[in-house]
Amino acid sequence: MMKKINLAIALGATCAGCDVAILDLNEKILEVFDLVEFKFWPTAMDFKLDDLKKLKDKEVDVGIYHGAIRTTEDAKIAKILRQKSKVVVAFGACANFGGIPSLANMPFEQDMFDLVYKDVPSMDNPENTVPLTSVKINDVELTLPGILENADALEEVIDVDYFVPGCPPMVPLIEQVVEVLKLYANTGKLPPKGSVIAGTKTLCEECGRTKPEKISFKEFISPQEVDEMDPDLCLLPQGILCLGPATRAGCDGLCTKMNVGCRGCLGPTDKVKDHGLKMISALTSLLEVEIEEEMTEEELDKIVDKIPDPLGTFYRFTYGKSLIYKLHSEEELI
């Protein structure tokens, strides 16, 4: 009889889509229930942080964390999870790379709170109320966790053993995680530390669209601007920005099958440190490569200017791990 695995699922700055993704296992979730003993999963069950705190150190076999580290509370939970778990898995793009929350790490000219709570056009806040970490109501002090200067990936705060990228991780990847758990339960064996549970190659490997021998393009257009999309041809030669060439495989081309360019949620391959930079490098290498030398800087700029929100496009999920962010935050560069 196999021993049940003690599992904890903790969360930080997250939309909880990762939790939903786990439930998307459908009937396979029953296998998970047979396999594991939940020690902590506040989204799905009645758990409080104290339940996690009460456990002995390393009592949890596998601790899964999703979400970025945005508040002092997130960091605290992550550290507790690390203390209580034999292995920790960073689950989802936010825990892996900082994800969408880390886009707020951009060097804004003004305070982020002012921007979000006062200045955005959709905000109606005549009293200029901003969140505070503590407030006294009827002599009772109420406190909230403090917000950290930046939103970071889990790895920046605690030691992480395994990585499952994706926004959210796709069901086939979660099934792989279940297989890993099964193997662990049966044999006590685990993959090598640092393993990424997803493909090793890039999306092009599995996307299924045909690539011309030579890819080139003259402009970037939005899918809705295309008169007649070729459903079988690679999106890049059709002018649609697709991060597939730079993005780790594992999703089976969910977006590209729907004629939507890859947004890069699985992050880069093992070889690449800066996802967006690599994609920019590839795109600019290919852009009008035949006549590039005859074009002026201005003409090339004009084409590149058509990319809406470059930082949000190339770093939608990985800004927290990018070189520009690190340069900005004056961390070690390389």
Binding site: K201, T202, E205, P212, E213, A246, T269, K271, V272, A282
Partner: protein
């Protein structure tokens, strides 16, 4: 743990003037893994090289850094030195402290600091270098020369004389090119044909030369040492070996068209020979105008041909052969004066191009060497020569100077004076450029002894005025506007890359400059090499040139080709790109980015592969590869990161 030796060069005062070498040595000797430092006045000198060799042996060095000039200058020198000392040559790296430091700085203290950083960064790189061995690619010891003008002829003859097989491919029916159309050549006034035809005959007779005229290169695959070339030999419809050039066929041929050899100034038949000395000496049928390709309509020539040399059923042949080296000598075309609006768009009868005037001057030309103007055949008494027609005019025409026009216009004026003694020759020029041996003397002779008139100024407009051409212009020396009538105007039009140059550049994947001329691998130090290893360029395919320059370049290209053909194997630098299949998603980015066509997708293996013989190690693919799967040997992500870290260390 490496044992690195660092050798710092003073380069006389080039480096030592701005860099405190002593301080550099002091600092570097304590750097991690450095076991020996030494300096020399000239590291590249024999004594300097000996220093390195002895230090490698004495201190058992396993990595060497030479801090001196650019890799382009002396990397080979120091690699050989390392190899001779018994260490793998790829374990030596150069730190460029001259071009990238001492030459561009003045502050000695800061330049010294920077020098130390550059050396430290190079130490980090060399520590991560792997020992590599150059590998051999087999060589097909045959050369292909594309283009049968004077440059192609010279290159083919030189290579053939050196004992190698040469195939010379020419698009037209005969070799000779533009030079065969010229009357006399500047500055000696040698008869062009007289000096060219012996070379043409030599090509035709040479046992090592396979001459394919009326042929075009269709496709080229492969790489230096073994280019696989497909040549299309178009049907001539006349069997070369049987044709006796009796010209019976010409008399009966009913089709009359413009003769290209005479720049369209005279007629020819649909069956013709370009000119009497053509090589190969055989008639050819122009299938676009001949009626007899459908023999039901006309077969008059076939009926009269005694030796039965005419064969209407001849089909195009495709020849596939391998060559070790290729010389591109596809020549130029003349800037069409039909594009020049201010000079009448080619609609004024007595305005001709330089090449047309050459034919009028030629003894075998349409007028047998008597200058007659096209409109009425009269001998012109006033001829105006306009320099820079369509040249040096970036707004409307060619931006560049075509180099030869000043001289040929001077030659035209002089020849005209020789033929029409009472004629007046007027040259309008912007500058007279006479950079060439005896060119200035030639110009002086025209202006001072032969009474050719030179007016500095541009002609703004040419108009038909009755029988004459009205010339409106300005003398920029006197600031006077000029209006004069001439019987004839000759436009010294510039040079364009020929159509063949453009086609061949596409087929061979050669880089071209913005004007369309073939780009040299290095404009100064590699003037006959192209970006594609094993492909050389000669003559006007790489830009306007006069005959001696084209011939010299052809000999240069031939010598370069011979160095490839001289052995059965070719040593190739192993510093090339490598693809990691584990992460490669086969996105095809690298395939298009590679300027050498060295990366390809192999369907059977479902892999993207690097052709080792084609890869030049430029690193474009490594930079572009979005999955980070491509690395250049000895310039891996790890080693580049380590180098950058060393540079950034405070």
């Amino acid at each position: 743990m490496s044992k690195v030796g660092v050798f710092v060069c003073h380069c006389g005062r080039n480096i030592a003037h701005t860099v405190d070498i002593k301080k550099v040595l002091e600092s570097i000797k304590d750097y991690e893994d450095v076991v020996h430092v030494e300096d020399s006045m000239y590291m590249c000198s024999e004594p300097g090289q000996t220093i390195i060799k002895e230090a490698i042996k004495k201190h058992d060095l396993d990595r060497v850094v030479v801090a001196a000039c650019s890799k382009d200058m002396h990397e080979d020198t120091f690699r050989i030195v390392t190899k001779e000392a018994g260490l793998n040559q790829y374990l030596t790296e150069m730190a460029n402290i001259r071009e990238q430091c001492s030459w561009v700085h003045e502050n000695k203290e800061k330049a010294t600091e920077k020098t130390i950083k550059i050396i430290e960064s190079t130490i980090e790189k060399v520590k991560r270098n792997q020992a590599l061995e150059p590998y051999n690619v087999p060589v097909t010891r045959k050369a292909l020369v594309i283009g049968g003008g004077i440059a192609g002829i010279q290159a083919a003859l030189d290579i053939a004389d050196a004992g190698y097989q040469v195939t010379l491919v020419e698009k037209d029916s005969t070799i000779g090119g533009k030079m065969a159309q010229l009357a006399e050549t500047f500055p000696t006034l040698d008869c062009s044909q007289c000096i060219l035809t012996p070379k043409m005959v030599a090509v035709g007779r040479h046992p090592n030369i396979q001459l394919l005229t009326n042929s075009e290169v269709e496709n080229v695959d492969g790489y230096v040492g073994s280019f696989k070339v497909k040549i299309k030999k178009k049907p001539r419809y006349v069997i070369e070996e049987k044709c006796t050039i009796c010209d019976d066929c010409v008399h009966v041929c009913p089709v009359i068209v413009h003769d290209e050899y005479n720049a369209g100034l005279s007629p020819r038949k649909a069956i013709y020979i370009a000119f009497p000395q053509a090589v190969p000496a055989s008639y050819i049928i122009d299938p676009s105008t001949c009626l007899g390709i459908d023999p039901l309509i006309c077969a008059k020539c076939k009926e009269v041909c005694d030796p039965k040399a005419i064969d209407f059923d001849m089909k195009a042949e495709f020849i596939e052969e391998e060559f070790g080296a290729i010389v591109v000598a596809t020549g130029y075309s003349v800037y069409p004066y039909e594009r020049i609006g201010e000079y009448g768009y080619g609609n004024i009868h007595n305005v001709v191009s330089g090449l047309e005037f050459e034919r009028l001057l030629s003894a075998n030309g349409p007028t047998q060497g008597v200058i007659r103007r096209p409109s009425d055949g009269n001998i012109p008494k006033i001829v105006v020569f306009i320099h820079c027609a369509g040249s040096r005019d970036p707004a409307k025409h060619l931006p560049y100077c075509s180099k030869i026009c000043c001289m040929y216009a001077t030659k035209h004026a002089m020849q005209y004076k020789h033929l029409v003694h009472d004629g007046v020759a007027i040259n309008f020029y912007i500058d007279v450029r006479t950079a060439g041996k005896d060119y200035e003397e030639f110009y002086k002779r025209a202006a001072e002894e032969e009474n050719v008139i030179y007016i500095r100024g541009k002609v703004s407009e040419l108009l038909q005025d009755g029988e004459k051409v009205l010339i409106r212009g300005v003398n920029t020396l006197t600031s006077e506007s000029i209006e004069l009538h001439a019987d004839m105007v000759v436009l010294a039009t510039g040079l364009l890359p020929s159509e063949g140059t453009q086609e061949i550049s596409n087929i061979l994947k050669l880089s071209c400059d913005s004007k369309g001329f073939v780009k040299e691998a290095h404009p100064k130090l590699k003037p006959v090499e192209t970006v594609i290893s094993g492909v050389f360029v000669a003559g006007t395919a790489s830009g306007p040139k006069d005959i001696p320059e084209a011939v010299a370049q052809a000999s240069g290209a031939a010598a370069k080709a011979e160095t490839i053909l001289s052995s059965d194997f070719l040593e190739r630098d192993p510093v090339i790109a490598e693809i990691d299949d584990l992460t490669c998603g086969i996105c095809h980015t690298c395939i298009h980015v590679c300027p050498y066509g060295a990366i390809y997708y192999d369907e059977n293996q479902n892999k993207v592969l690097v052709n080792e013989a084609l890869c030049e190690g430029c690193g474009s693919c490594a930079a572009a590869c979005p999955s980070g799967s491509i690395e250049l040997r000895n310039s891996t992500y790890e080693s580049i990161s380590a180098s950058i870290k060393a540079l950034l260390r405070v």
